[in-house]
Assembly symmetry: C2
Homo-oligomer: 507 residues x 2
């Protein structure tokens, strides 16, 4: 008899060593965040018997910590985009998604999502998620009202706006306050319950079970301190989130992320990724993550300029806060970074308390600010002087900030807002994960499918996979949509009568 201590996610268990099967189902889903909920809903809706294991005592996962925002568009726009006057062409949406995916974008997933996003919006509504037909034009992070549509990425900023017609695509559920993710998960959890999914809480997935052909055919789970063996006739869907809470994994794979003091996660111990790797699954983009400091709103701050400890600018400040933050993280010295503003552009940041953005220097001249910050003589001055000279002409030849945000910083007093990475609130989660097909099937390093294994949400490397391309709502868009695909594909193995996908002993 094998004890619980012998199993660990990094090491698969051979079916020949399973003492007995305690549980069985057609589809086993691991993790009850957005991806797992959507996988379970779709699989169960086809008639498959679904077992859902969740290590916590309740549903929600890290998705419930979010704003519940989902990145949607294309096909001429959602009803809410259209009501706000935006017609979002699929082509523009796709172009943006591919640019946002960075140098290793997944064109197949981007295409499928760009084409199916409108239908996904209707699916979300059909599950019971409510959206108000409203739009906020200002540059914000997330509405505190129950409004829906916001600009949640770098759509209007260089270089994205040069390639794809800008459109707001962040859709927030109708919920007052910052808890939209909790609301979203409550709606999805209700659906899971309505569909009679067999949900087991307080159940920790310990290891995948594989047969000698390499097919995944079950899961070892610890329940009440005992190892339980669960057989999956069709497949196992891993939806355990990313690995931001596993600081050893972060150190090993995404050391830059360690500098963020605020990991966004619940469990997120990388167990799903580790289980996938244990059967040969390829983990990709493991060094990538989302990092951000909410330095705006108000939008007037976007008229300021960021400088590093060499007094150099490094980014167009009108792009998404998470993109700006990626550039901040990569500056020489890596810590001392300021946002320079003048009287005309300064206003206290809305999230000043949370973000711990303090005034690093304030003076009547930029020379004094430079001295107060102890920057090399002329470094800040040269940067401000060059910026102002071009801004007066409505140009930013260095970083291409859009004209509407260009305003010379010339009205004293002058202020340097301190945005040090090691001091301020930079939140983060990981974007690397298992390489999957759009169907959720997990791939090995030869891009061959591992039979019986699926992954979605941050356990997979999905649409959002490159820090500088992240936009709010992308992770939930990916988790919900590709969670659905994985659930459907895993269940379809029955619907198709595809008996060759079943373990030999069932033929």
């Amino acid at each position: 008899m094998t004890s619980a201590m012998e199993h660990s996610p990094g090491r698969a268990c051979s079916v020949s060593r399973v003492p007995r099967f305690d549980l069985e189902a057609d589809v086993i889903v691991v993790g009850f965040g957005a991806a797992g909920a959507c996988a379970a809903i779709e699989a169960a809706a086809t008639g498959a018997r679904v077992l859902l294991f969740e290590v916590a005592a309740g549903s929600g996962g890290t998705s419930a910590l979010s704003g519940g925002e989902i990145y949607l568009g294309g096909s001429g726009g959602t009803p809410i985009q259209r009501a706000a006057g935006f017609s979002d062409a699929t082509h523009d949406f796709l172009t943006y998604l591919v640019m946002a995916g960075g140098p290793n974008a997944d064109a197949a997933k981007a295409r499928l999502y760009a084409e199916e996003s409108l239908a996904h919006f209707h699916w979300l509504r059909s599950q019971g998620v409510q959206y108000k037909n409203s739009y906020i034009a200002e540059k914000i992070v997330e509405p505190v009202t129950d409004d829906c549509l916001i600009w949640s990425g770098s759509e209007a900023a260089w270089p994205f706006a040069q390639e794809a017609k800008p459109c707001p695509r962040g859709h927030c559920p109708q919920f007052v306050g910052m808890g939209g993710g909790k609301y979203l998960m409550e709606v999805l959890a209700q659906r899971v319950s309505d569909l009679n999914v067999d949900v087991r809480f307080n159940s920790r997935a310990l290891a995948l079970i594989a047969d000698d052909s390499g097919r995944v055919c079950g899961l070892v789970v610890r329940i009440d301190g005992e190892s339980r063996y669960a057989r999956a006739h069709n497949g196992v869907v891993l939806c355990t989130g990313g690995f931001i809470m596993n600081r050893e994994m972060v150190r090993r794979h995404a050391p830059l992320m360690l500098r963020s003091r605020q990991p966004i996660g619940t469990v997120d111990d990388g167990s799903g990724i580790r289980m996938g790797m244990s059967v040969g699954g390829a983990a990709i983009n493991m060094s990538e993550g989302f990092v951000t400091i909410p330095w705006y709103p108000p939008g007037s701050l976007v008229k300021g300029i960021f400088i590093n400890e060499c007094g150099q600018r490094f980014v167009n400040e009108d792009c998404y806060h998470g993109r700006v933050s990626q550039y901040i993280l990569r500056q020489p010295g890596g810590d001392r970074v300021w946002l320079l503003v003048d009287q005309a552009s300064y206003a206290p940041p809305d999230f000043q308390q949370l973000a711990r953005i303090e005034i690093g220097a304030a003076a009547e001249t930029w020379e004094e600010v430079e001295r107060e910050l102890q920057l090399p003589q002329g470094s800040l001055i040269n940067t401000v002087e060059l910026y102002n000279r071009y801004a007066r002409q409505g140009e930013d030849p260095l970083f291409h900030k859009a004209r509407e945000w260009l305003q010379p910083l010339e009205k004293p007093p002058f202020v340097a807002l301190d945005c040090r990475v090691d001091h301020c609130f930079y939140s983060s989660f990981t974007l690397g994960g298992l390489d999957t097909l759009p169907t959720g099937e997990v791939l090995n390093e030869d891009r061959g499918v591992i039979p019986g294994l699926y992954a979605a949400g941050r356990t997979a490397c999905g649409l959002p996979r490159w820090g500088p391309g992240y936009s709010s709502g992308m992770s939930l868009a990916d988790a919900t949509f590709f969670g659905r695909q994985a659930g459907l594909r895993a269940a379809r193995a029955i619907a198709n009568g595809a008996s060759r996908n079943r373990p030999p002993e069932f033929e």
Copy 2:
């Protein structure tokens, strides 16, 4: 009967599916570069029966393309360091190695190598590798003479010099010309032959064989178009190099490296890494690589300054060419980069023809150079003016270039050397690979040992694992030294009589 087409490195073969074993040995080594040769030598020297498979028709691998340089030091210095007047303390050597390993340095490997490097030098000599007792003080890339000791990293540059006493550590074998790696491999191959290692050329490793406990117990190899099954009683040592020639893998894991037009590799298709992953091995630092343009010598060019397309400096130019190149690769815009020099510092780069470094602009004033390069007005000027002003005082407050290289760029004519990444010769190889213990044992993502599996050289993530920290000679140092450890550990399973490490059927 299984056909050759059914096997691929990304998918392990279960021992239960092996039709027969055609070959057997105590230790199987895959790949006949420096790591594989050293693993085979050490394993065979203990009396183990060793089978070495090499896909090419001869020995050498990518190691034979190199200069044969090995990074050595510590313990007060090698005889050659000491003769040149350097006493290299183990502490300084270790500090440098850890800094060079970057945010995810392997302190255990660094410590072992810092302590054993002097003994490794003697071992290399005892194998027949000859070194001349000579030292070149100039800042060069690699000697064209048969001289030995050179400065081959960033030892004397900020921030390394602040933490570890600088010392030259690149040891080149006594060989006239650039072919030192070929000479090194000929010596090692002779030793492999003398020790009666069973070498099979033209043999492609297709897949690992594992039993149902997860232990690696053999290898499927394609020989003469047929799948052959080789049993390894003790273990398989993967030494197949990195993955720079597998452009799909590079795109997936290290997209920045794709911009280098000159991959340094022979096979280097990642097959060893893929085989390791197929049995749950964790691949780490996969986005890291070595990239360089040989922009010096002559050393006078180091007195110039690099600027990006914003006219900004970005690095202390006195560090190793490979470190400078990493910074070049990361500049905004990512392509247009120049080295600014004046009459006093200019000399044609030694490798001008090879590197395709051309003059991008030349003029009597920096204003004209700025215009010729079509840079924003004032951008280059501000940078040069600030640099010159501080250089006159022997300071570089922005990037900390050492005083000996600080000389104001004020003697016309002024020149901008064009170092565009997409145009010039940037060579590259990968630094990510399987996570291993200093013994060469391959780890899964929980850092548990995968029984029977070892890796060394660029198939493993070794001492050199971070592009900006690379120094010439580090990869061969790692491949030879940790290749030896892997061979010893794999063989020792016999010497120890550690029967629990043998497959059950042999007990």
